[in-house]
Amino acid sequence: MKTVKQPVIFAIRNVLTISKREVTRFRSRFTGRSRLVLLVIAALCLLITYILYHQDFVLSKGLYTVGVSSNGPAITDSRFKVLPLDVERGRMMLQNKAIDIYIDPDDAICRSDQRSQYAAGALKQYLEKRELTRIASEYEISQAFPLRIEINHLQARAGDVETQTQMSLSDILGLAEAPAQSPTTAEPTELPSGAVPAPSPQPGTSSTDAAVRQQLSDFEGKNGLPEFKAEFASDKDIIVPSLMEPPIPLAQVIMAFLYVVPILFVSVFFTGSFMEEKTNRKLIILLSAPVTPFQIILGKMLPYIGYSIVVIIAVTLLLRGNVLLALPIFIPVMLFILSIYLMVALTYRTFKDQTFFSVLAVAGITAYLVAPAMFSGVSDLSYISPLTLAVQMYRGESFSLTQYFLSTAPMYLVFFLALFVGKRIFNEEYLTGFKPLYAKFSEAIYLAINRNHLHLSVFLLSLFLIPPVFMLQLSSIVVASNLPMPFALAAVLVMSVITEEIAKSSGIATLLQNRVVKSLKQILTLSFMSALGFLIGEKLLLYLALFVISESVFTTAIFSTGLLVMPLMMHFITTSMVCLMTARFGIKYYPAALIAGSVIHGLYNLYVIGAIL
């Protein structure tokens, strides 16, 4: 591998020259007729998006068929096919399953089968909404929405916090001035006592009217996007039961996803260009020029980073978001996507492989970004995905720097790791060699390790593998959620333990395979360094996560807290066990060694969880 020591200015010039070449290459792909064709298609896509955005998007169009009597309600929801029918014919068609439900001014008739029952449920929801809108316009707000509920929060376990600093229930209920009611003897009773003085409601108007009006206008969809709150209900919020809607931030998640789709397209070009130059050996020719692999990678990537930033700014301006916030949220997402595509391009040889791994990457990235964001406002676990931050940005909610780091730090780290590994594996033999996937991975790890600083390399490898391990474990939660609860937890445990053992031992295993490491002492010291690196990374992540994620059984299972010595011991024992077994029986038995190490690791985790749960 070439090591060209250059002044920074030359390095920058090299990167810019390669970028310019990449831009020219990209532009030459779309000239003349093909550019026109693409522009027309892009314009069409934009037009369709615009039209769909401005009309009620309904997936279940015409799903149910409703028979309505001549004096029945008018149904305008496109989920319902409406047939005007008299009662007799309605009953007959209902029986023949030609309609799912029949409705007149007083009541609705349905069958007992599933389809008819679901239709009734959907119609009930629609009519209730219609009725609420009707009474809101026909009656005074105090008559139509007489019940208002103020939300308050109280720490459930007093032992956890200083009780003096906490509000008491009396403070919350505004009953602090009330005379004390037999504090020691009163037992909860099922019987009414009426002993607590209750403030009488004021007839006519109330201070809560404004809150009700706000909710009513949200309910009727007058405020554009559906309501989303950082919390389902914040302290002192006023809720009206019939207007309370579940906080699905679907619209915001879709908006946030609008950024990801064009970035994915841009990345496909990046990987395509890389693959093409790899297969026609232009990259190898470039290597003989006075440029470093790092400059080649960065130079080729730079135009696509530029295009993606333009996309982020354009989408933000189009959706009227805050560009200064959108950039720090989506730049790590973009770098993460580009780093995955870089690895795909460097590892695979054929276009078909590349297409399928790209599609797989798209599915994985989509799941990783979108699934947690769906829980925005419900669970703090949603901060795993930067899309949650975007959702909050579009709601005008603030987020903390720690939340920002939890969402984006793994993405930045994966990017830097990919750049580093990319630079190390950038040689003719690796780029052009046909090998099975596991051999390619093993070779990449071997090339990433600096043979002059083995201990430091193994330590850093374990440390930097934490973000990908974290992401893989989160994906395992997604997959395991298909199973019922005890099995799901077991599956998460098994998958996370195996992932961790692979991360810790893979570096040493490749050194063993290439006979760089032989002695028992070397294996043990390297295992210790790997365990130490992994533990430090794990604890750093835990420290960050604890700030944000308050409670989750899954995260407890994966990132178990406890003393520092015990987990270090465990990591050391399992890693050295895997590596010693591999050294003794050969690399062929590495999977068996991994299973053995994982069993010990798993038993340790079970012990810790048993102590926690």
């Binding site: 019940l147 103020e150 308050n152 496909v268």
Partner: protein, 346 residues
């Protein structure tokens, strides 16, 4: 015909060799997992009705204030344990020690507006569940107060099952699973056709006793067969998960027709651009545009699968048959372009 079969077997063998099917299955497994996370997460947390109907979450409600309120009856109807407290201190102690999950303060009502207070624990997930479980009894109480104020609400006693999950499954998941293989088939056809054109292997193939049309058609058919196999697999998997697809024959037929149409479209794009990179990009863009445009058709392929799968009385093979028209239309430019390519080569 024999030559065509040889080509088709070659294509299919290549697909299996390149682990395409395995990958497609993994991708779709991800999609299915993803949707089940959404199902478990969103549906159980968000679908207020299903949470009360399908789950038995023991929630203990502490009442402070007007313990004669009809709300207590509505809460008990929902099978919630209701404890009345005459003393706020005791209620607080019960809440802090975890004996009750929430406290409701009900002021004495003389008609007019009732301003209640609800005390919730500071735990995101539990808070959501409590609010969702309490919604129905609170709504009943709200209607009771409305009636007392002389406001009449129609259709409030309609029965019916929570429909959100049903609509989600049949309007999104089933069509997505049935059409995703078609999108992959198209992508595969772009790769296969562009590869032949780019690597100039067509000249070699022309020396074989098969026409160029047969060469490309075999690639399209291979993609369509893979798509059909995946759809059948999904139908079986969904059935194992107690999700029944009605009119399964028509649903499969529609998926195959759509896969064939998409594949013809993909082949046209690949033949036009003659290189993989541009063809793949254009294919993706066209696919997005076509999916968007299809929303304005009644029924769109997505919607038609929904209606067939739910056993809609007014949907039948007739609508499916109509989708043969775009397939035939797309096949014309495909065969023309393929012929042109052959002429250019000669």
């Amino acid at each position: 015909m024999n030559g065509f079969l040889v080509l088709l077997t070659r294509e299919l063998r290549q697909i299996t060799k390149e682990k395409t099917i395995m990958l497609a299955i993994i991708i779709q497994f991800f999609l299915a997992s993803f949707s089940s996370v959404l199902l478990i997460g969103i549906m159980s947390f968000y679908d207020p009705e299903s949470i009360g109907e399908t789950t038995r979450i023991p929630i203990d409600v502490g009442i402070v204030g007007d313990t004669n309120s009809p709300l207590l009856g509505f809460l008990k109807e929902k099978n919630l344990r209701v404890l009345s407290f005459s003393d706020v201190g005791n209620a607080e102690e019960a809440f802090r020690s975890g004996h009750i999950d929430t406290v409701i303060f009900i002021p004495e009502s003389n008609g007019g507006i009732v301003d209640m207070k609800l005390v919730l624990p500071e735990l995101d997930a539990l808070e959501t569940v409590i609010l969702m479980v309490l919604q129905e009894p609170l709504e009943k109480y709200e209607n009771y107060l409305r009636e007392a104020n002389g406001v009449e609400l129609y259709y409030k006693d309609l029965d019916g099952r929570p429909h959100a999950t049903y609509e989600f499954l049949y309007s999104l998941i089933v069509p997505m699973l049935m059409l995703f293989p078609a999108f992959i088939a198209g992508s595969m056809v772009v790769d296969a056709v562009a590869e032949e054109v780019e690597t100039k292997t067509l000249d070699t193939l022309r020396s074989a006793p098969v026409s160029l049309n047969a060469v490309f058609a075999s690639k399209i058919l291979a993609g369509v067969i893979t798509c059909a196999l995946q759809c059948i697999m999904w139908a079986v998997l969904l059935r194992l998960n107690s999700l029944f697809i009605q009119n399964i024959g028509f649903v499969l037929l529609l998926s195959i027709i759509i896969a064939a149409s998409i594949s013809f479209g993909a082949a046209i794009i690949a033949l036009y651009f003659k290189d993989r990179e541009r063809a793949q990009f254009t294919y993706s863009m066209v696919l997005i545009a076509a999916a968007g445009l299809s929303y304005f058709i009644d029924p769109s392929p997505f919607n038609l699968i929904t209606r067939l799968a739910t056993g809609d009385y007014y949907t039948s093979g007739y609508q499916v048959a109509l989708y043969v028209i775009p397939l035939l239309i797309l096949s014309v430019p495909f065969f023309t372009m393929s012929k042109k390519l052959l002429a250019a080569k000669s």
